[in-house]
Symmetry: C2
């Protein structure tokens, strides 16, 4: 113990000179033990000191963590800034001066300007050309599951970025920034060494595999080119519809970033003008009246966000009379809002809105909109139509989609597809009527065929094993399997196999004759509804196509090496099957989740779950970071009130 003695001595000297406490006390010393052995002064237990100490630890850990991150970024920066230059970039003369051709004699862009600029790109220049039209959920889904090296990928889109549409209502009110919802397409295709052309698809030459694209020129005009393809994916989406309501040019819509920005400016203008000393009380009430037409998720979320905005930021920074005079109206044509969700959820949302003071008008139709009012009609008990007018300075039209012009053009040139609302595709998402396997379509621009009857003869041939022209129960089970394979959507309606068989076996001979079979298939067909036009559907379809294209590429390469014919889609993949993961909606510091059989409704906790799901669904880590920051900044400092 010799080394310890000096330490002990030092400790002794540091403490009071009168008492020399023993270094290791034998028993805990209690005040009532009077003893000649002096006890060290007991440090009293200070709760606040403990809390302070832990708070200090927390601050120190955070500071340390931030320091580490900061140093990391410093080092990253130090190695990222490059003094490289791009000199004598290899580029094909064909890229600089393309040859003309095709029916309209336009330049055919066989080689792009960046096709040969480095090794990676040069290697891909000879691969089959995959052209994707569109920049939304469908196109991003395809890009997500493609593999590098399979195709020379080109994306054609009129906007240079993809938008995270579910959070547009949040951006329209300023809860998140518009920039947190966009990701430049060039960054997404970088992984695949893909190429991007900013333009609008206008026409298609299927015989020569040419896509006609309209691009901008510097003086504001346009010029068209042909882009050749080996495989084409149409993901152009839909535009907004007008439903024939007069005055819709006075309304806002919420489909794009530009919409969200315009809505935000109008909302801020309304509040600023309402705060002016020059406004009459009637005018103030009109300026602060917000009408949302449509009780689906978009409309409900926008109403909820506006209400939050009033409760939190308007209350704090604007004259309180602004808060008092605000009125929010939601006009829904059906009997309930969120009617595509479960009933429990509809009722929950309605109760919440009532509590928040949002004016819910159901079973009402908007008949006209002008610059200063909205007119809607309801039916009273006698069935008479009653007119109502709301003075307003903000109307959001959140219902209805219409066909994209390119989609219309494609349906016009396809045989048997005129007058369709979307491009008809088969269960493998191949466009029907186009050379098989060349063109795919997905999302809002496509509709999966639900015609069971058209497969009638094939189904009978495959199932009727004993060739007696009738289908007994065993053969019926085979036929059910074949139907499900061709049209997976039918699965939900083909569960009660025995009951269906009996129901349509009119003559009760335990056989389905062809006469009995046709009505069965027709009724089945009637029950099949098209997939909803949602981001989830487009995203899943896109990922399916991406995976399939990868498999096709690999099998094609293998087949080529072995001098075999390239594979079909059916040989490579099952048909597309949509899995509904659930629907969410934000209803004002609360959220609802419809997860198929289960519904989840709740307050703050549900709202954080809602945020987590959307946060996870972001298309890149960068937007995740931006979104998290937006929510933190808004939580600490409130929304941004500037009118930009």
């Amino acid at each position: 113990m010799s080394t310890l003695r000096p330490v002990a001595g030092l400790a002794g000297r540091l403490s009071s000179s009168v008492i020399k406490p023993p270094l290791f006390p034998r028993y805990p010393r209690f005040p009532h033990f009077s003893s000649t052995l002096s006890t060290p002064p007991r440090r009293p237990f200070h709760r606040t000191r403990l809390v302070a100490r832990y708070a200090a630890y927390a601050c120190l850990s955070t500071a340390f963590g931030v320091f580490v991150i900061g140093t990391g970024i410093l080092l990253h920066d130090a190695f990222t800034y490059t003094e490289k230059h791009a000199n004598r970039v290899p580029i094909s003369p064909l890229a600089l001066h393309p040859e003309s051709g095709g029916p309209k004699n336009l330049p055919i862009v066989r080689v792009l300007v960046d096709d040969e600029e480095d090794e990676e790109n040069a290697r891909l220049a000879d691969k089959p050309k995959l052209v994707i039209i569109g920049g939304g959920w469908g196109a991003m889904g395809v890009l997500d599951t493609l593999h590098v090296g399979d195709y020379h990928v080109t994306v054609v889109s009129s906007e240079t970025f993809t938008t995270f549409t579910p959070l547009l209502p949040s951006a329209a009110v300023g809860t998140v920034q518009v920039r947190s919802l966009v990701e430049p397409i060039r960054k997404i295709i970088a992984r695949l060494h893909g190429h991007f052309v900013q333009g609008k698809a206008v026409d298609l030459v299927m015989s020569e595999r040419l896509l006609e694209v309209e691009t901008k020129t510097y003086d504001g005009g346009t010029t068209n080119v042909y882009i050749p393809y080996d495989k084409l994916v149409i993901a152009v989406g839909s535009t907004s519809s007008t439903h024939g309501v007069p005055g819709l040019e006075n309304c806002f819509q919420l489909k794009t970033i530009a919409d969200a920005q315009a809505i935000r400016r109008r909302i801020m203008d309304n509040f600023e003008m309402a705060s002016l000393p020059t406004i009459s009380p009637e005018e103030r009430k009109r300026l602060l009246s917000f009408v949302i037409c449509g009780g689906g998720p978009t409309g409900v979320e926008t109403a909820a966000e506006i209400d939050d905005f009033c409760q939190e930021d308007i209350m704090r920074y604007f004259p309180k009379i602004c808060r008092e005079e605000v009125s929010i109206h939601v006009i829904q044509s059906r009997e309930h809002i969120l009617n595509t969700y479960s009933e429990a959820i509809s009722k929950y949302a309605e109760r919440k809105f009532k509590r928040d003071g949002v004016n819910l008008v159901t079973s009402a139709r908007v008949s006209a909109v002008d610059k200063e009012t909205v007119t809607y009609t309801t039916k009273d008990r006698d069935g008479k139509t009653v007119k109502h007018v709301i003075p307003t300075n903000f109307v959001l039209w959140s219902t209805g989609i219409a066909m994209n012009p390119f989609t219309k053009r494609v349906t016009d040139i396809l045989p048997n597809q005129v007058h369709k609302k979307a491009i008809v595709v088969d269960a493998h998402l191949r466009v029907k009527g186009a050379p098989l396997g060349d063109i795919y379509a997905l999302g809002d621009s496509a509709t999966v065929e639900t015609s069971v009857v058209s497969h009638f003869m094939d189904l009978v041939e495959e199932a009727d094993k004993d060739n007696n022209g009738k289908i007994n129960f065993e053969e019926w089970k085979i036929m059910v399997k074949r139907i499900k394979a061709r049209i997976p959507m039918a699965e939900d309606h083909l569960i009660e196999v025995r009951a269906l068989f009996d129901m349509y076996d009119k003559d009760m001979d335990n056989n389905l004759s062809l006469n009995e079979l046709v009505p069965l298939l027709q009724d089945l067909e009637k029950r099949l509804t098209a997939l909803p036009a949602t981001a989830q559907v487009a995203s899943q379809q896109g990922k399916y196509i991406g995976k399939k294209l990868h498999k096709l590429a690999r099998r094609s390469q293998a087949a080529q090496l072995n001098n075999m014919r390239p594979p079909n889609d059916e040989e490579v993949c099952k048909p597309f099957r949509y899995l509904h993961l659930g629907s969410l909606a934000y209803i004002g510091n609360a959220a609802v989740f419809d997860l198929g059989g289960y519904s989840l409704m709740g307050g703050l906790a549900a709202m954080y779950a809602w945020r987590s799901i959307y946060w996870n669904e972001q298309v890149s880590a960068r937007t995740r970071g931006l979104l998290m920051t937006d929510w933190i900044i808004r939580g600490v400092w409130g929304r941004d009130l500037s009118r930009l």
Copy 2:
């Protein structure tokens, strides 16, 4: 030591059962001491394990810190979301229906709509009315140093936010988001329970203390009101000048957020169009040519940011030919760029630009701009004018300020101020010619009088103690003090007191006669230059006025209680003295600092210092958070390439 034995025993049992190591080894054990005393197996020193352990600590600390922050926010949210409603808000009928009056018989807004809505506001409604026109650096400076409870404060501005102008070049290229540079004025005045009116000041009625303000109406028109004031601060700033160069409507400017957004869209359009397959090589070169007219800080920083953008993001995500064809030109009329900085700094910046490949054209004047080219002239050795033309699709005009229309109106109605370039104020920043103490002006809209000669008789009277009509050296020293007190700017020119005295004492009689004194004061006056029109000057002037207004309010209240007359500005404050803290500029992953006598130039470290200073200068914690995030996000994921 009895309590220790069980512990020792436990330690012994925990370690290997064969050896019983002593608890306190006497000497450090070296491997070459073979001995019967067995040594505990030495743990080998693993450097990687140590690094891994510290990395783990860092991650854990950060995670812990984030967890603490997250919990904090959760708790904050849980207590912030309020279900409060604003009901029956107290509001004066005079606020809803103001009376009309004044020369133009407009509504006089004596009471605002939020004047009585709660206790705090009601208490301030009777205080003297302070009206601040403007929302820039000057106005924010005033708001920064005012104290709650002194005045009923109203801010009149045409934009609802204040802009952090030094970082506009960064926002114009997308390095930071435009929203990180704005702070809503309503949030800044909340501390003072102030009021905000979105409108434009157009006229002034000094005799009745009325400010005429033009506000927007919902249908796009305007309506005017009078806002009464007791004290008025004019901080409207300046607008851009055209210098008489034809074609300036084809140029961009960089004064506001809207400018930065427009520039960003044009830059992205240029790169996207240059990537199209339809562009000819000549057209591509033109699209990628960026011309900046003006070699001051704004122009230099914008050129540097565009160059960074090309090096980092364009290089990675656009066809490399875009990078190759880019050319950046800076046209400066003087001989050096950054000529208001020290010479060392000018040279450093020029060398850096040369290294980066930026084309610097000095001693050149821009003669014309059209949609596709810029024409400038230089003089060759013989003095002949040579014309040069640069094909371009982007021209930034970054020189020259002009008078704000309201400033012009004020100088028109003030006696002796017609044809001035800004409102003349005295050393206390009071507008000369207005009722003394009513109206202040600062920043770009004001110029501090530098007329020494106009104080001649007062100075002589104060200094000539022996009343002999001559000023001897002792009296000269008194006069120097009096000059410095009235015009602090003169201080730098009055250091060599004795030398000045001798220089102007032509008849060498050790006395300055009045005839000798006048040329001295005239020459002094010529040397005094106006303060530069920078953010720093406006900010310091604003803070000075805010402090002074606070002191005046307190002394006025005290004087009122004691039945004394209210104090003058001179009794309360010294005249305004500008302290130049230095100038910074960012020149492309490097920064320069001109700190009066010292210059600091450097690379990454200087850039971080530059960022720290700007980060600290932010007007609110919220914008600091946003800015930090922008820099982090950009550091990790690069700039945003979307064209919004």
